[in-house]
Amino acid sequence: MSDTPSLRTPSQRIAWTATIAISTLVFIFLIAPILAIMPLSFSSGSYLTYPLPGLSLRWYDDFISSPRWMNSLKNSMIIGVASTVVSMVLGTLAALGLAQWKSRFKPLVLAFVLSPVVVPGVITAVGLYFFFAPIGLTGSYLGLILAHTALATPFVVITVGATLQSFDTNLARAAASLGASPLQAFRRVILPLILPGIASGALFAFATSFDEVVIVLFMAGPEQRTLPREMFSGIRENISPTITAAAVILTTVSVILLATLEGLRRRNERLKGSSA
């Protein structure tokens, strides 16, 4: 297979060149802002302009020695990990159930389960604010974990559901016919096969919670402020280089998540390729 589609006429060649040119500009548009902010965090000066006066790690030092930023990082991790775990359990169970369930209400239930992704964040946040305040769940870790779990679970349902679609149910039958109990069949046959789906669902769940800020704005007390929440007020007031350091840390987390996901996808494709 050649690298470019077969181009016969000059006009096709022009169109193809134009596609490449425009795409290159769009790629620059997409990636340049993220790249541009990174070097600024290593600046020795306190202005966010190029050229950099010199290189230093003082803003990272500032980040690490600031209780406010470190506390927000800690909160992001606590809330992210907890809501990931809960959404993995709830989402995987639901995906397994939905794969077997036959009913004309199924599209409706599926739409309901996926709706937290589509409903504007402000609406969910306002609803939760009214709902959780009287029962003491605003300004608490538990409230934020519950809210983030609701937002993150649809991604687990989607990814696990997608894995189950390509899952051969005969394998479960085979396990049963060989005398495995349903639990054994799940643990030793089904679970290993859908694990990549669960893992990528977990990555989405964590990323969702780690990046979420609207609900945190409404519901977090000073004790529960997360990293994006801290960045939000930082950007509002005055962008300091410490914020760019926080941005680099957040971006590093995203890259790690993305790389893990890509690894999972490749592994999955390899497995599919070998079974075909």
Partner: protein
Amino acid sequence: MTDALLTGADASTEVPLKRRLRRAERTRQVKALALVAPLLVFLLFTFAGPIAGMLWRAVDDREVRQALPKTVAALANWDGKDLPDEKAYAALASDILSARGAGTIAIAAKRLNYALNGFRTILTGTARHLKTAPEPDTAKETLGKINPAWRERTTWTTIKDAGGPVTGFYLLAALDLTRNVDGAIVSAPPDQAIYREIFARTFLISLGVTVLCLILGFPVAYLLATLPPRRSNLLMIFVLLPFWTSLLVRTCAWIVLLQSKGVVNDSLHWLGIIDEPLRLIYNRFGVCVAMTHVLLPFMILPLYSSMKAISPAYMRAAASLGAPPLTAFLRIYLPQTLPGIGAGGLLVFILALGYYITPALVGGAADQMISYFIALYTTETANWGLASALGAVLLLATILLALVYGKLVQGQQVTGGMKN
């Protein structure tokens, strides 16, 4: 297990087997539902319940009823054509005295002031001047003396309208409508009519961002779908990395780039294109650029998956039948990408409608979208009824669009090519 049993049941007669099959299937369905149930219960508590509660607040109207119960009761049978009778005045005077004692007068005054500007002054002023209950049959006269507003019909219809327990007041207000003194629905006075404009602005910005995303996303999706997988997978990183990068990081990056001493202005100045820094941020331009950047991957990915499914054989067939490339593109290729365009466009539009963070950070006062006002009325001014009503309108628009989206991506991947 049941499956194993079933294979061993061949020997039995047909009817019990059928029945057993049905029973086994029923058990399976109950088990399946039991697996979904925990999530459904969870979402009921953390998502559906709260949103239902918000919708309820959009029509809930009990503040005046709680503060002025006798007045509301006395006005129940009032036809609203003339001033109410002496009984209603006496009830109001008695309500005001007890509400002042209970401290609920301010809550009622706040609610009534939403409906009629200046009502707060009327009510609190009256409460201040009314020392004791008026003598029998003098309530009308006494109240009218304290504030002439009590001699006007509007004052009383406002109380009657706010008597609850449910109201369409907030929903009407969210659409710049109000009830006049005769109870007919009319346009709100111009100084209070701001929400239609805000909704129009929200739609306009969302539409603009959607169109920008389509224009920028289409060639990229085409390139990614056309290149061999080895190369397109590599280029896909340019789409996925921003997609995974925190929204706050991206918004922050745009501020750094576009501010008056930012990278873009500096470069343009250095190149000699401009003398004065351009105003690129804290305005509509900044909002559109940053939102397009955030939402572009949501356009590219569904477009990509719809283009990936188009066989190149179609274009070759069109060419072999003598279609010029442009004709072949317009009549063969483009129509096949329409589901992708629809899905991507709707997705971007839906997400843009509810946007809050980016406009809040890079927009000026005239660029705030509906979400901003919902947040403002919830946390700052505590006008929860109006916040909920605006939320209800936004939710309705989102649900309608999501239904169309659902129809469009039916049969395609559930994710619409999103994130996976």
